[in-house]
Symmetry: C3
Subunit: 338 residues, 3 copies
Amino acid sequence: MSWTLAQIAEHVNGQVVGDPDYTIRSVGTLTHAGPEDLSFLANNKYRKFLASTSAGAVIVAAGAEADITTNLIVVEDAYVAYAQAASLMYPIPKAAAGIHPSAWVHPEARLADNVSIAAQVTIDRGAVIADGASIGPGSVIEADVSIGRDSVIKANVTLCREVQVGERVVIHPGVVIGADGFGIANNQGRWIKVPQVGRVIIGDDVEIGANTTIDRGAIDDTIIGQGVKLDNQIQIGHNVTIGDHTVIAGCVGIAGSTHIGSHCAIGGGTGIAGHIEITDGVQLTGMSMVTKSITEAGVYSSGIPIEPARQWHKNVIRYRQMDKLFERVTLLEKRLKD
Amino acid sequence: MSWTLAQIAEHVNGQVVGDPDYTIRSVGTLTHAGPEDLSFLANNKYRKFLASTSAGAVIVAAGAEADITTNLIVVEDAYVAYAQAASLMYPIPKAAAGIHPSAWVHPEARLADNVSIAAQVTIDRGAVIADGASIGPGSVIEADVSIGRDSVIKANVTLCREVQVGERVVIHPGVVIGADGFGIANNQGRWIKVPQVGRVIIGDDVEIGANTTIDRGAIDDTIIGQGVKLDNQIQIGHNVTIGDHTVIAGCVGIAGSTHIGSHCAIGGGTGIAGHIEITDGVQLTGMSMVTKSITEAGVYSSGIPIEPARQWHKNVIRYRQMDKLFERVTLLEKRLKD
Amino acid sequence: MSWTLAQIAEHVNGQVVGDPDYTIRSVGTLTHAGPEDLSFLANNKYRKFLASTSAGAVIVAAGAEADITTNLIVVEDAYVAYAQAASLMYPIPKAAAGIHPSAWVHPEARLADNVSIAAQVTIDRGAVIADGASIGPGSVIEADVSIGRDSVIKANVTLCREVQVGERVVIHPGVVIGADGFGIANNQGRWIKVPQVGRVIIGDDVEIGANTTIDRGAIDDTIIGQGVKLDNQIQIGHNVTIGDHTVIAGCVGIAGSTHIGSHCAIGGGTGIAGHIEITDGVQLTGMSMVTKSITEAGVYSSGIPIEPARQWHKNVIRYRQMDKLFERVTLLEKRLKD
């Protein structure tokens, strides 16, 4: 397959600077791209590689095109345009419709005609799988799960009973949705189980990264809004709700019954306490520690980055002496006043 | 199915205030419950919803019942009573006994008569599965694993060779127990593997959350005590021991050879160094960093919660200047003395 | 099986002190070993157990043998020698060659003659599996994956399309390699997917712990160097590269496009930002927060360990008042000068 720069520019709503009939076959980074590759510049850190790139063409934002001699496609947002161009060139491969002979599908599951069920899959009673959806090898779809049109469940995924998955959702390998939340009550020193009877509802156009876990609700449902994008190894507790178009990077943990707004962006490794509210439009930088509700949009951070171990030792000691330092300064102030 | 308040009150050892013949069919939260739902008040944060709840009845602790007009079940501990009531109403569904035709069971595995082996399961040589136990779809039970009575292994679980699982244990999807611990030795710049020959022993009444991993011992065994409750995505290193009735929230990492006492409670995202001892009755709040042994019961914490990013930047700089600040204060004290 | 101390000493390049014909059958820790067990002393913390050990023989480093009455094997590095001895006594069991009847292998996959394919495995079109490699139960090998000689893929692993695995690699259960990286672009408030078209390349002699995830490259490949050892539940983002013989402990998260050098050692729970460079020979202690490139080898740390909760509360408040304290000290200095 190949595309002219004119075709790509039309698809991404951009302008060609250079030869519109130049032919592109694949994509490449500025440093590794060859003459048949389309590249892009979205992070100024990589601007230095523009002068020497061998890319056949480069997508750049308007205003960034000065002094570049290679073919360009000039757009409003270079990363969005690259995403659109790459999606044109690399459409998600559609698994062939059909049920693999090694899959086991309960006779009372309801599968639309053109679904794709891979090898070693298990689909239990009452599951409903809509048109165009596909289930990857080794995945387990428990009773009464529903999966919307054109959703893609990859390999070795587990969707527990009654999980509801919207349309065009992508769920990567190893994900577990709908396992019991961590509901326990302490009965005279021993922990007894609180039955987890809520469901998990996943909105349309959600993507969920590898080995992420989302617990079912204790009573009400756990809800992931439309267009939410979750990276790998995220843990979402029972009865959490996440607003539409929020993105969460890897290794984030969100404790139970916390509500996160729409259009938030949560950095990797962040921990969020249970039973709090985070309003719309909040950004948290990586490894943030959130213990209270956040009522105003904005950027929030915590954590102290690394330093050489020797200094770190010293600073930790100083940290623990701060309280005494405050007392010393107060005393100094008093003396000086006297 | 339905239950009268009198039946539920008897089961949870409580007193009905209101109509003992009132009929309940399900459970609900104070805000969403309807007239056929039983609700409860265990967290004072939600007390404000009591006045307007449509719940058919509410479980409350003695002393909290004032001014409530709905039916009540008054108990000593509302959350424990709710757990008991919900367990009555939603018993863990028992998988039908039998071996699914798509499962593969080694002829030298020993399965009690009424076990349930789901689709796509693998059970290897020498595995022993006791009465009433069930193995979920896609799970792998390696050689010489033993699983006690009435234990429930959910979907896509891996129990590696020789793992011993007690009775009434629940293991959620994606869990891996008994993989090799991280045992490596540096031989002139290259890392060589240290064989991991210990086992993992899981006590009775343990529950293990989705995608949690527990490594086998290097030489001695890794041991999880009775009644321990583990949330999702916990990592437990080789030769760790965890005392009875300890609970650990999600995303906790425990490095090798650390011993944790009984009746501890470890908050989510906590990291615990290797080769240390944590005594009984220790509570760690979320995201704690534990580098040394803890010899006294009590509550311990670390971490600095988020602040607006601009202040955070400033405070991190201040943190790094603390040592100089101490010098400045010492100098001031000296001058003032002079 | 049994071995004389002379045989073991020869294998580990050590000297017997005591009876070279003494027979050993297994290994044990100093505290639990019996007369047929070989033990070792590598961590001085455990030296106190030497006097009372019942071990048949103990491996110790030269210089540490004073006052010990049991049989010894004296070596240069006790832990390396123990690893070598234990590997002699406990060789990795080789799965029998053959394809289990419940496995599904695409007719266009290419399997060498003596590979071992376990139950419930899926191997897709174009996969290539070399001599001596084994695939554990329930694992999924997607299209065009290649697995090198003598590599061991354990149970319920997912290797996504085009992943390249070197020779003698060990991949533990639940690992996902080659899932899509977290590539999204914000198109007027909605996130659109950036196709992930790179691969993952795993070098020879790599070991990867349970439930670890390694994302495929966005354009270029994600690369794990030779001899790298990864513990459990590590998350490695797209286009990360990790240099040869680097080791990473559990629960580490590495964001996309970061390059880590050779012979690094990264402590558990560490978080590393994207698009940075870490040079060779860097050590990071547990729970480090890395936000910028590290250009010099050495030991780096961050994080403030736990303290009793009451002190922690006070110190967090003091931390937030630091900026004002600096102002107060500056004012004091000014006054004193005046």
